[in-house]
């Protein structure tokens, strides 16, 4: 370096050799930044296809049921015998809250129970993978209409016992998973899923079969009680559930047995015997 060349930042201009060196550095840095941007952008997992119709309110008419989770059964055409088909639309609240509070306030305001009644609700739809949910927000004045008389709802729930099952999957909150957030599952979303479930959102078990198809189960306690707080430590992590499965039309509800919710480890299940025998051999 020339003795005359000395860089001082508070002077207007850098010496030529310094400026030339920094130019070279920037010429190297520029493609590095672009390549990193391209690599990182293209390496992301595919975003989910869920939709949250933010800002669009839709009126939905159906029969309201409070158990096992707040839902409305909506007519969805007829089968070949002329019987009405129903789809089940679980209700969720605004933000990270369940719909129970909103529905309870509306029932209090009207001084009637909505159970088994035909109601028309206005809310925001979200849907993905064949499942439809609706957000009901008190600020949207969601109750459009409620019939005074009970509908003959016997058989409408299409309850069918499926027996005791063991399933492995991930507990997610349905609002984020089916539309609001991408990703609405996995480690990055864990805190949010916990907060949503603790806020009253019904926990859902997402199960992926060997072919990559996904099935979804609503989770409640053995006697139908809420499990929102009980699942806190199991959200967004592999779990296995032992439960009584009951189909309510197009949703299956898992009545989780006491101690029926456990963390699941693929390694522990498939390799624990090998590891134990290996350790025993080593000790021997």
């Amino acid at each position: 370096m020339n003795n005359e060349e000395f860089y001082i930042g508070w002077m207007g201009k850098a010496p030529k050799s310094f400026a030339a060196w920094i130019r070279k550095y920037l010429i190297v840095l520029l493609p590095v930044i672009i390549v990193l941007g391209v690599l990182l952008a293209l390496s992301q997992k595919k975003f989910g296809t869920g939709t949250f119709e933010f800002g669009t309110l839709t009126e939905v008419k159906g029969i309201y049921f409070n158990k096992p989770v707040p839902t409305i059964k909506v007519v969805d055409g007829k089968d070949i015998w002329g019987n009405e088909n129903y789809i089940t639309v679980p209700l969720i609240g605004f933000g990270k809250h369940g719909a129970d509070g909103v529905i309870a306030d509306l029932e209090k305001e009207k001084n009637i129970s909505f159970e088994g009644k035909e109601i028309t609700l206005k809310g925001t739809l979200l849907y993905n993978d064949g499942k439809l949910l609706m957000q009901v927000d008190a600020n949207d004045k969601p109750l459009v209409n409620v019939s005074g008389a009970n509908i003959n709802s016997v058989g409408l729930q299409k309850i069918k016992e499926l027996g005791i099952i063991d399933v492995k999957g991930e507990i997610v909150d349905p609002k984020c998973f089916f539309g609001v957030m991408k990703p609405g599952e996995g480690k990055p979303h864990k805190d949010c899923a916990i907060r949503c479930i603790l806020g009253g959102m019904p926990p859902v078990l997402k199960v992926t079969d060997e072919k990559g198809n996904q099935n979804y189960y609503l989770i409640v306690g053995a006697n139908g009680e809420k499990m929102n707080e009980a699942v806190q430590d199991y959200v967004a992590t592999p779990v296995e559930i032992n439960a009584r499965a009951v189909a309510y039309g197009d949703w299956v509800v898992l009545y989780v047995h006491p101690n029926g919710l456990q963390h699941y480890s693929y390694i522990r299940e498939h390799f624990s015997t090998s590891i134990a025998s290996c350790m025993a051999a080593c000790i021997k």
């Binding site: 003795n3 975003f47 869920g50």
Partner: protein
């Protein structure tokens, strides 16, 4: 260097520096967002914003942390070092967008305060797989915040250089927190190894640069000077020092810069009072020793900054015997005038 405080003492170099930061940031964000929108049409704005800002901030953090060792290895990087704080503050602003949107997205509108939610939703602190990685990012954000708001020289003078430097060394803790935030967070979700590979390359590059620069410093400090008499140590030949330049010697763990200027040799403490810059790598300009890092100046004969500045460094005795430079490592109080050693015409040739 200014006698009064300005928000930013703009000059041409600073403006070029900041425009380049802005241009690089816009280029990266545009690349990331446009490609995500094209190849991931189901994207959501919030997620893309969170990811674009987080990845950009991690890149800037690596660039910022590499400037120090790069400058130790090659002084031509000094223009990057001088305004490094601009890079740091820019990074903080980008991280703030990432952190704010993340807290809004993942913790707001719940049944508890978002900050309570941040620390109480996931409490698996004993598990690597489930570790609440967002808390790590939050603590890193706090460190970057403290660094950003104290980045101005006003805080350096009021906190004292030692406290200020200590606070800003927490950037390495913040870097560790950021690495763990990424490794225990998004890398456990993404399946493409590109993320972990880039992160590891970044970390190893930084570690290597710091080790290379550190080794060079240690080697300089480890030079042993055997000849001693009357408290003086023989350090070099007078011809080894260029005019208006210095050589640095480490004696008894004390780094001392011996300057040759105006036909004399002067010795001052090597550590600049501003940000511990190496005065021995500076130059005498307008009669003042000028620090290579930020241009702080000191008079060679007494180690005092010229009025109205008040910085002072220790001075030392230096003498010449023939062409041999002898240095006494016993420090005088900061700002003490010393006569220096006169270089005779014969010695200077």
């Amino acid at each position: 260097m200014g006698a009064s405080y300005l928000a930013v003492g703009w000059n041409r170099q600073k403006k070029i520096y900041d425009w380049l930061i802005f241009a690089f940031c816009v280029l990266y964000l545009a690349t990331f967002v446009v490609l995500t929108a094209i190849f991931n049409p189901d994207y959501t704005f919030e997620t893309v914003l969170i990811r674009a800002t987080s990845t950009l901030a991690v890149i800037i953090l690596h660039v910022t942390l590499s400037i120090g060792p790069l400058t130790r290895i090659n002084k031509k990087f000094l223009p990057l070092l001088y305004n490094r704080r601009h890079l740091g503050v820019s990074m903080f602003c980008i991280i703030l967008v990432h952190g704010s949107f993340s807290i809004l997205q993942f913790h707001s509108l719940g049944n508890v305060n978002p900050f309570v939610s941040l620390f109480t939703s996931n409490t698996h602190f004993g598990s690597l797989a489930d570790f609440p990685f967002q808390a790590l990012g939050f603590f890193a954000l706090i460190i970057f915040f403290l660094m950003a708001i104290t980045s101005h020289d006003f805080w350096l003078h009021n906190l004292s250089p030692k406290v200020w430097k200590t606070l800003h060394m927490f950037v390495y803790l913040a870097y560790f927190l950021v690495v763990m935030h990424v490794m225990l967070g998004v890398i456990q979700y993404e399946t493409n190894p590109v993320f972990i590979i880039i992160m590891l390359i970044g970390a190893f590059t930084l570690i290597a640069l710091h080790l290379i620069a550190g080794t060079r410093e240690v080697n300089k400090d480890d030079v042993i000077y055997k000849l001693k008499q009357d408290g003086y140590v023989l350090v070099c030949d007078v011809k080894d020092i260029e005019e208006d330049r210095a050589k640095m010697f480490c004696l008894d763990t004390e780094r001392i810069a011996v300057y040759k200027t105006g036909g004399k040799l002067f010795a001052v403490n090597n550590v600049c009072k501003h940000q511990n810059g190496p005065l021995g790598e500076g130059k005498v300009i307008d009669g003042c020793i000028t620090c290579p890092w930020h241009g702080y100046q000191y008079l060679p004969q007494n180690g005092q900054s010229p009025p109205p500045f008040k910085e002072k460094v220790s001075t030392y005795d230096v003498k010449l015997e023939g062409t041999h430079v002898w240095l006494n490592p016993k420090a005088y109080a900061e700002g003490t005038e010393r006569p220096g050693a006169v270089i005779s015409v014969v010695n200077a040739e």
